[in-house]
């Protein structure tokens, strides 16, 4: 028996709107990205010049600022991977022990992640202000007046200050991920370990950690992808300054595109950067599969 007509047409009709948007705004731009990366084009001129792989060669061999910006995003990422995620895990373990006030802690820790990077950046921009910021005011009140400085405008501290703000915004997200992971570990496993006389460290090392490993890998991948592509927070705090000290890849791509009007070059930068991120996340996924 043939299916009624409705059942034959329906799947295509149901998917069509989503597919249309997906084709126009995901697939076609992807093609446009690859194509434009081979051009020397200011974004306006009707006749772009085909330059082959020259944009790529320039990114790889000559663009010192781009690779510096890559390293700076890497620095923030490294801090987020270690400090931020260690703190997130520690707090998740604390709250998972049915600590009194645990739900209040959870509510508060997840407050920064729901705020926008712009708001978070502007709040801390004001706190870290060199002349009127509360941070310097508190330092002075504590007798540490000689440490005061314009934290986000001083080349020595700007990048670390940005990293600190980024971690402040991000740790609560890692915290809820770890907490969700911890809550899937059955209590019986801990009971059994306790009966066998295992101490707290041993239980953490041999029960918690192995079972939490998949969550750790997911959190690490998302931390790397999210932090390497940091952008709005930079715009709201330093805009890449002072003197390029907080430039990151995305701000460089923006500068190539809207600053110097080199659309083809901006695309090549984006593709090189994207490929690196892809390799990093594939390596981690393989690692996850091996441990699973």
């Amino acid at each position: 028996m043939a299916a009624p007509r409705g059942r034959r047409v329906a799947p295509y009709a149901f998917i069509l709107p989503a597919l249309l948007l997906f084709t126009v705004f995901s697939i076609y731009p992807f093609y446009l990205l690859l194509q434009t990366s081979l051009l020397d084009w200011d974004g306006i001129s009707p006749s772009p010049t085909f330059v082959g792989l020259r944009n790529y060669l320039e990114v790889l061999a000559q663009d010192r600022i781009f690779w510096t910006s890559f390293g700076q995003a890497g620095y923030v990422t490294l801090l987020a991977l270690t400090l931020q995620n260690a703190l997130a895990l520690l707090l998740a373990i604390a709250v998972n022990r049915e600590l009194r006030g645990g739900t209040i802690y959870r509510t508060i820790f997840f407050l920064p992640p729901i705020l926008s990077e712009i708001v978070v950046g502007l709040i801390w921009f004001w706190i870290f202000d060199g002349n009127f910021g509360i941070f310097n005011e508190v330092l002075t009140a504590m007798g540490l007046g000689h440490f005061t400085r314009p934290w986000l405008a001083d080349p020595q501290t700007a990048l670390s200050a940005v990293a600190m703000i980024h971690m402040w915004k991000g740790f609560g997200w890692g915290f809820v991920m770890f907490l969700a992971g911890l809550q899937t570990i059955p209590d019986e496993l801990y009971e059994a370990a306790r009966v066998d006389g295992a101490n707290a460290w041993y239980r953490f090392r041999h029960v918690t950690l192995p079972l939490l490993l998949p969550v750790c890998i997911t959190v690490s991948i998302l931390t790397i992808l999210g932090t390497m592509q940091i952008f709005a927070l930079i715009i709201a705090t330093t805009q890449g300054g002072p003197a390029f000290h907080t430039e990151v890849p995305i701000t460089r791509i923006f500068a190539s595109m809207l600053g110097s009007g080199r659309f083809g070059y901006a695309c090549a930068q984006g593709i090189v950067f994207g490929l690196i991120l892809l390799v990093v996340s594939l390596i981690q996924l393989r690692f996850q599969r091996k441990t699973a």
Partner: protein, 295 residues
């Protein structure tokens, strides 16, 4: 072992437990305070005058300037930004929820040529980072006349909304398809026997059942649209069209040191999401962890 010894070890155990709890609180409490203080400081700054914001370092200002909010809302354009954000969010959420539901239902119930591949390709966009995609998106929107260049106001609004609908679809489909998979097929079959068409089954049976999942998608999509900045930065140049995040940067760009008014604008911009968060945090957190950990 005597009874006294037993009581002593019990006491010691209890003391150790207490010390342990104290240690955990000693870790959590300062961090919780560090989360709240910057927000309190922003709220405090929003109630100071343009002079006292630089001189009065008390958390609760002597005479709170509630008029800052009126001034930010009108002269600072935050009223305009607010309603723009509201409109963009409503438009994107409505479209993401309905289009994702339609597509996910089709992926769940019908197999057609290439459906499996298409499903995987759409979901892969959630995992594969394409950091340069916004350059191509800008070129495309420019070709389509959807970048704000001073003419029509609806085209740039469309240019801001459409890519975000597309960006929200994979997550929506990803959450909804397994949800539809779990609903038994017999439900639809009996409805069809009763004379319900495919669309009728979808509308009257599947959508109501999927309401919890639709709610999570609506919540998380709202959050991401409300907080979106990069695309707004690319698309808009006229303040009258900007959403809040872009508006905050526009305000800061023209009134560099008006921290009291800027803070009032920030409070206006976060108030709705903080309220929704406090009411719905369980759903929001569940959606975020499920979205990331299932994948």
């Amino acid at each position: 072992m005597t009874g006294d010894d037993g009581r002593l070890t019990l006491l010691a155990q209890r003391a150790r437990r207490w010390l342990g709890y104290l240690g955990w609180h000693a870790l959590c409490l300062p961090i919780a305070l560090s989360c709240v203080f910057p927000l309190a400081w922003m709220a405090s700054s929003s109630l100071k005058t343009q002079r006292t914001v630089f001189s009065d370092f008390r958390l609760i200002p002597a005479s709170p300037q509630w008029s800052n909010y009126a001034e930010a809302w009108t002269r600072g354009h935050f009223g305009v930004y607010f309603f723009n954000s509201l409109g963009y969010t409503a438009a994107v959420v409505t479209c993401v929820v309905s289009l994702a539901a339609l597509a996910a239902y089709a992926f769940s119930r019908f197999t057609f040529k290439g459906s499996g591949l298409l499903y995987r390709v759409i979901l892969s966009t959630m995992l594969i980072p394409i950091p340069g995609a916004f350059v191509a998106l800008y070129i495309l929107l420019n070709q389509m006349g959807l970048i704000d260049q001073g003419g029509d106001t609806w085209l740039p609004r469309l240019g801001y909304v459409l890519p975000q609908i597309n960006a929200g679809l994979p997550f929506g489909i990803f959450i909804l398809k397994p949800f539809f998979d779990k609903i038994p097929k017999e439900l639809e079959e009996s409805a069809e026997v009763d004379g319900c068409g495919v669309l009728g089954v979808f509308w009257h049976i599947m959508l109501p059942l999927a309401r919890p999942a639709l709610g999570v998608i609506a919540l998380l999509t709202s959050l991401s649209v409300w907080n979106e900045f990069l695309l707004a930065y690319l698309v808009f140049s006229r303040p009258g069209l900007m959403p809040l995040q872009r508006g905050l940067m526009a305000f800061q760009g023209t009134h560099l040191t008006q921290y009291a008014l800027l803070s009032a604008g920030m409070v206006i911009s976060i108030l709705p999401i903080v309220v929704i968060y406090l009411l719905m945090q369980r759903n929001i957190i569940r959606g975020i962890t499920a979205g990331a950990l299932k994948g």
